[in-house]
């Protein structure tokens, strides 16, 4: 397939792996964080971990939009779904994320009208087909998904769809990265930057990482050769004593991002003073809400939501996994109490979550290693 096959070439993969081996200094341990859940998924799916030297360690960052949603927000969504006549819409993985008293799927089983959609446009279509009922779209995602929600809200307003509302849980990528870099319990040597977020925001927002924290970063695509190439670029920077933002995904990511998407986002959203991230607590200016001009479509203003902060289950260590402090298998309940079929934590729910990716692709290799 065009744009795909070229980046899955096993021969080139072997060449890159060999070059990576030549770039590492023996005796030095390298720890790189892939920010994006899509990268985590690719690393396990294609066995990229196995191609790297033993002293190059990949840790998984907070880039899965489902995994960072705290339980309290799930509870708020469930409360909205139980409002009279409401049709509640959200993406598929969100349905299985546990709140403090069950999931959205449990709420559906109890009679709430909850429907899975593939895009916000699908939710708007449902609103237009059911003009007598309020339709709430539970919006999640980073800057990759936020333009889609923004354009849909703009479209709903332009078409006079009065029964379409949004509970906005969109988050931004830079504040959590800064929080991670400020965290004393995490030592990183570099970052694999998020590819599709950067398609929208560009590469420029990541300049603070080398400038203020002295860490190299390479924005990367999602095919196996993309990820390997990004690791190669970071290692080469370290070897040559450079520290900068590089763009491995230049075939898609412009340096300044997508101006039209950024413009529509700034029109429809504004930054929240703070937003809670699962396992990371409240991070300043890291979440989006609807702007004043779109306040009449804000589900949180139309309905009363509990808004109660709920602590994560004690057994769950999603927070430490999201911060890259522990590996998925080091969590006490990984693969036993917490599986994709019966997740306790959000990292096991989403296919982009580190725990689910590791459970689906990596656990057998790990078991062999342990044996």
């Amino acid at each position: 397939m065009k744009y795909v096959d070229e980046f899955r070439d096993p021969v080139l993969g072997e060449v890159l792996a060999g070059e990576i081996l030549g770039l590492v200094e023996p005796g030095r341990h390298y720890k790189f964080m892939e920010v994006c859940g899509g990268h985590t998924h690719s690393i396990y799916k294609y066995g990229i971990d196995d191609l790297l030297p033993a002293n190059v360690e990949l840790v998984h960052g907070p880039g899965c939009p489902v995994c960072v949603i705290p339980m309290g927000r799930v509870d708020d969504g469930i409360a909205l779904a139980h409002e009279p006549d409401v049709i509640f819409t959200c993406f598929g993985d969100m349905l299985r994320v546990p709140g403090s008293d069950g999931t959205l799927l449990d709420a559906k089983a109890q009679g709430a009208d909850i429907r899975m959609v593939y895009s916000p446009l699908d939710a708007l279509r449902i609103a237009k087909a059911n003009p007598q009922r309020p339709v709430v779209f539970f919006a999640i995602g980073f800057e990759t998904t936020a333009p889609s929600t923004a354009l849909t809200l703009k479209r709903a307003k332009a078409e006079g769809v009065a029964n379409f509302f949004c509970m906005c849980n969109h988050v931004t990528i830079v504040p959590p990265l800064r929080a991670l870099l400020d965290s004393p319990d995490l030592r990183l040597d570099g970052f694999i930057g998020p590819g599709h977020v950067s398609t929208v925001v560009g590469v420029r927002p990541f300049e603070f990482i080398p400038a203020e924290y002295g860490k190299p970063i390479s924005v990367a695509g999602f095919e196996p050769l993309d990820v390997l190439h990004a690791i190669h670029m970071i290692l080469r920077q370290l070897k040559e004593g450079r520290c900068e933002v590089e763009n491995q995904y230049a075939r898609v990511v412009p340096y300044d991002g997508n101006p039209r998407a950024l413009q529509v986002m700034s029109e429809v959203f504004e930054l929240r003073p703070h937003f809670e991230w699962r396992g990371m607590g409240f991070i300043s200016q890291s979440g989006l809400k609807l702007s004043e001009a779109y306040a009449d479509m804000d589900a949180e203003l139309r309905y009363e939501v509990p808004g109660i902060r709920v602590a994560d289950p004690k057994a769950c260590q999603c927070g430490e996994v999201l911060k890259g402090v522990i590996k998925p298998w080091e969590c006490k309940v990984f693969g036993s109490g917490c599986t994709p079929e019966r997740p306790i934590g959000t990292c096991m729910v989403s296919s982009e979550g580190a725990c689910a990716a590791y459970y689906n692709y990596g656990r057998f290799a790990r078991e062999r290693e342990v044996v």
Partner: protein, 84 residues
């Protein structure tokens, strides 16, 4: 009992294909080719390499253009040069 009902709902509900990747929940975007345009509404009918089509929200494009699409919205236009 509550668990059983939830399981039944789970079995009936449409779900993401978690064995590959959830394109909407994740940061995944897929390359599609523009087939037809509805310029007035800013929409395009696009198809993937296997011919599966979907409607996409997009800035002005032309039939034949390759777009990178996430959650029903084009986030980038791919160029021939970009294909490497």
């Amino acid at each position: 009992m509550k668990r059983l009902i939830a399981d039944a709902a789970s079995a009936l509900a449409p779900t993401c294909d978690t064995t590959t990747s959830c394109i909407t929940c994740g940061d995944v975007a897929i390359p599609l080719t523009v087939l037809r345009l509805d310029e007035e509404r800013g929409l395009a009918l696009c198809a993937d390499d296997e011919g599966k089509s979907e409607t996409v929200e997009t800035a002005p494009v032309a039939p034949g253009d390759r777009l990178l699409v996430h959650a029903g919205t084009a986030i980038a236009r791919l160029t021939e040069e970009a294909s490497g």
